[in-house]
Symmetry: C2
Subunit: 167 residues, 2 copies
DNA sequence: TTAAACTTTCAGTAATTATTGAAAGTTTAA
DNA sequence: TTAAACTTTCAATAATTACTGAAAGTTTAA
C-alpha cells in the first residue's frame, strides 16, 4: 500500500468513525487530515484535500476549535490562518471524553437521578421505574467517572495499574 | 413528578441518548419502555405507547433482537408475540460494549493496523502517517480491551479493584 | 384445508442532517 | 482610507436516515 492510498484510507475510516465519538464526518476527516499532516494547513489546503466547500470547512473547523481539538496557528509571513490539531493521542482521548461527558452524559445522569427520585406511590409499576432508573443511574455515573479518570493524563499511572489487573 | 411524567421523561431521554450507544431513537425508546415495564409487551402495546407504526416497531424490535438485548417470550393463552428486554444493567452494558466493539471498533482497528504498516519510504510525511496511526491503533486497541473487560460480568471484581484505585 | 390473527417487508414519503456557494463581514497592508 | 485577501454566515439544496401503511407472508386453531 502506497502513501496516498494509506492516507485516503485513514481519512475515510476515521471519518466514518466520527459517529462513534460523537462528531460528524467532515469534522472527523478534517481532524484526521491535520493529525497526519507534518505542518499546519490552511482552509484552502483542507478544502482542496477533502474536496469540500469553504463554508463547510469553516463551520467544521469552528466546531473542532470549540471542542478544543484544533487550534489556529500563525505561520510567519502568511496572511491567512493555519490550523493544527492536538497530536498526542492520550490528550486527544482526554479532550473527547471530557467533552462528551459534559455535553451528553452529564445531562442524562441528571434526568436519571430526577426520574429515579419520584415519590414511590407503592404501585408495582412505580417501584419498577424507580428500581430500573436507579440502576441505570448508578451504572451511567460509574462509567462516566471511570472513563474520565482512565483517560486523564495527569493520573495516567492508573491506566498502567488497570492494565496490570487485566493480565 | 408523577409516574406518567417520569416515565415519559425517561423514555424520551433514553431515546435521545441512543446515538451515544449507537442505536436509533425508536430502538432506544422501545428498549426503554420494555426496561421499565413490569410485564412482557406485545407489538400492539409498544405501537400504542410510543405512537409509532407497526412497520417501525417490527423493524426495530428485530434489530434489538439482533443485538441480543430483546427476546421474544410466550405468554400463556396468547397467540401474539410478547417481548422483554434484559433487565440487568450490568448485562446490558456487557452486550452493548461487545456488539459495538464487534461492529464498529474492531474494523477500525484493522484499518489502523494496515495503514500503520505501510512501507516506510523515508519521507517525512510517511513517517508521520506511520507514527500517528500507530499511536491511534494502540490507543484504540487498549480502550477496546479495557472497556470490554470492565463491563464483563464474569470478571466484575475488576470494576471494584479499579474503583479502589480511584479513591 | 382455510380463514382469522398476527408479523414482515418495502416502496413511497417525511424528517433530519450535512453541504454548498454567494453575500456579508473582517482584517491588514499600503 | 480603501481595496485586496481572507473568513463567516446562512438560505437554499442535497444527501441521508427514519417512518408509514398497506400488501404479502406466516402461523395457528378449528
Amino acid at each position: 500500500m502506497e502513501y496516498q492510498e494509506a492516507k485516503d484510507k485513514f481519512i475515510s475510516t476515521w471519518g466514518s468513525l466520527g459517529s462513534l465519538w460523537g462528531i460528524n464526518k467532515a469534522m472527523a476527516q478534517i481532524q484526521a487530515l491535520l493529525f497526519i499532516s507534518t505542518k499546519p494547513l490552511s482552509m484552502e489546503d483542507i478544502m482542496e484535500e477533502l474536496k469540500i466547500s469553504r463554508g463547510n470547512t469553516s463551520m467544521n473547523l469552528r466546531q473542532l476549535m470549540d471542542w478544543g481539538i484544533v487550534t489556529k496557528t500563525l505561520v510567519a509571513g502568511e496572511r491567512k490562518e493555519f490550523f493544527t490539531t492536538e497530536k498526542d493521542v492520550q490528550e486527544l482521548a482526554r479532550i473527547v471524553a471530557k467533552e462528551r461527558s459534559r455535553r451528553e452524559i452529564k445531562p442524562v445522569i441528571k434526568v436519571l437521578e430526577e426520574v429515579s427520585s419520584i415519590k414511590n406511590d407503592g404501585t408495582e409499576k412505580s417501584k419498577e421505574l424507580i428500581k430500573q432508573t436507579k440502576a441505570l443511574y448508578e451504572l451511567t455515573e460509574t462509567m462516566d467517572v471511570m472513563i474520565n479518570k482512565l483517560v486523564d493524563q495527569k493520573q495516567n499511572w492508573i491506566t498502567k495499574s488497570v492494565l496490570k489487573l487485566f493480565k
